[in-house]
Structures are given as C-alpha cells and as structure tokens.
C-alpha cells in the first residue's frame, strides 16, 4: 500500500472486540480510570439527568483505543504514521456487546513537507448500531520507512 494507491472510498476493517465485565475491569487497571460508571451496577441503576444506563458501561476511551489500534495496524506496515484522532460517543457499550471499528478514506492532501490521508471512522455494535464516530488523520512521509 502506498499513498498514491489510495483513493476516496477505500475501506479499513478493524478488529472485533468482545466486551465483558472482565475486559472493562482490565481497561480500568490499564487506564487507571476507576469511575464507578464502569464498576458499580448499583450506582448505575440511578438516573443521570435524562439518561439511565441500567448497569455498568464500557469506557468511551476503550472505543478510542480500538480505533487507534485499527489505524496504527493499517498505517505502520506502509511506513505511515497515525497523527490525529477525534471521536464522539453516540451510544453506550455494555458487557455482552461485540464492537467493531471501521474506516473509510475521505480524502488525500499533499502539503509542502508531507502527505496526509483523512479517514472517517466509526464503531458498530453487534446490532449494526453506531456507538462511536470520528475522524482520523494519517501521515505518509515522503521518506516512508517500512518496518
């Protein structure tokens, strides 16, 4: 894969990720984010303004980490660099869900010193519902160094 090969509409498939109480607890330990949103079912039976979750939810940033993994796994073999990621959470993810990130190239841009690929990203659950959306930017340096 090279910068010149890529075109708008090209897709990137990410890895499926099975969400469980154990995976959420592991993410607590790895991120040091022990917010009771992710640990305490009794607390999550309460009301959060207009929102009721009904039980613990996965960290939104677990989506972020999964998208970032997809982007780096796609970029690194081509000597490209994951430079930016912006995400928004649109639906909570709960234990028992399976989530899968994906990307679609929207444009390419050359600047004075480098070359860039813009990618729309999203994460879907097992019911094909969007749980996260966003945009990523990947640099394809002119001196591409492929490991």
């Amino acid at each position: 894969m090279t910068f010149d090969d890529l075109k708008s509409g090209d897709t990137i498939d990410g890895p499926s990720f099975a969400v469980s109480r154990e995976s959420i607890r592991l993410f607590c330990d790895a991120s040091l984010d022990y917010n009771p949103l992710h640990l305490d079912d009794d607390y999550m039976k309460g009301s959060f303004g207009k929102t009721q979750f009904g039980g613990i939810i996965m960290h939104g940033m677990n989506n972020f980490g999964l998208i970032s993994r997809m982007i780096t796994d796609w970029a690194h073999p081509a000597g490209a660099i994951h430079c930016r990621l912006e995400t928004r959470w649109v639906k909570p993810v709960k234990p028992g869900d399976t989530i899968t990130p994906a990307g679609v190239i929207t444009s390419k841009q050359a600047t004075a010193k480098s070359r860039w690929v813009l990618i729309d990203v999203l994460v879907r659950n097992q019911q094909d519902e969007k749980v996260a959306t966003g945009e990523a930017m990947v640099e394809f340096p002119r001196d591409a160094f492929c490991a």
């Binding site: 592991l26 949103l37 959060f48 303004g49 972020f64 690194h76 912006e86 995400t87």
Partner: protein
Amino acid sequence: MPPQAFETDFWKDANLRKSWDEIIPGEPRQTLPYVLTREAIALYCKSVGETNPIYVDEAFAKTTRYGGLIAPPSIHILLMFACTPADDWMRSPGTVNAGQSWSYHLPARPNDIIRLEARALDKFIKRERLFVVHDNVFFNQHSEVICSGRGWTIRPM
C-alpha cells in the same frame, strides 16, 4: 494492577474535587510527573488487544523508524489519570466522557518521565447537561511534546 499509591476508590476524595460550578476555565490543573514503564505499556496493549510487536518486542522495534520500543499513540488514556492527583475533577464519580480529539507528535517510550500541562478550557450548559472542555499537553523528560488533546465531559449533577 495499578501503581501501589494509586487510589482506585474514586469516591474516597470525591468531596475534595471541584464541581462544575467551581471549575474555572483557564485555570491550570495540578499534575504529577509519571514514569511510563514497559509493564504499564504492556497492560494497556492487552486491554485493547494490541498485538503490534513495536510495543513489546525490543529486537523488532529496533528495526523500525523509531529505533526502539514505543507506546501506542492512545497511551494518553492512561497518562491522563497517571499524571493527575486523587482530587482532580476528572475522577469525579459520574463524569461521562462525550468525546475527545488528540494530535500525536512524538511517541512515548518506556522509562519516559511524562509531564502534563492541563486546564479546563471552557464550560457550558447544553440540553440541561453540564459540560466542561479540557485541554491537555503531554511532554517527555526533554520537554518535547508527545501529544496534545481536548475532551468534552458531562459533569455529575
């Protein structure tokens, strides 16, 4: 497992943390330096299923453009909590993350001493929800920027 001194009970210091009303946009947050270890990187990789050997296999990593082990770009997820004290308002129980954007400059590496400069940038009310925007820059021990980012959180009522 978390570092020994890290308080995992986020209720414990809840009364010390600033509420939405008390957060002042522009005011720096208190931060702490943090030494990023290979073990912390490996645990983070495990939590999101990272299998790229550049994060864990030193011999392989030496053959890459980075010349050695690096952390995944999204390691800032860990650094946000590792570099802030127990009374930081990001730990207030019920804080809901609405979205984040991050730009990456240099990779973090094992044994880097990470420093964070952070502040609330803005706060507002939308659809009866209390929002705070936070912005953050992580530096290594050479004062080089690792990454910078901004996040939107919904504060507990």
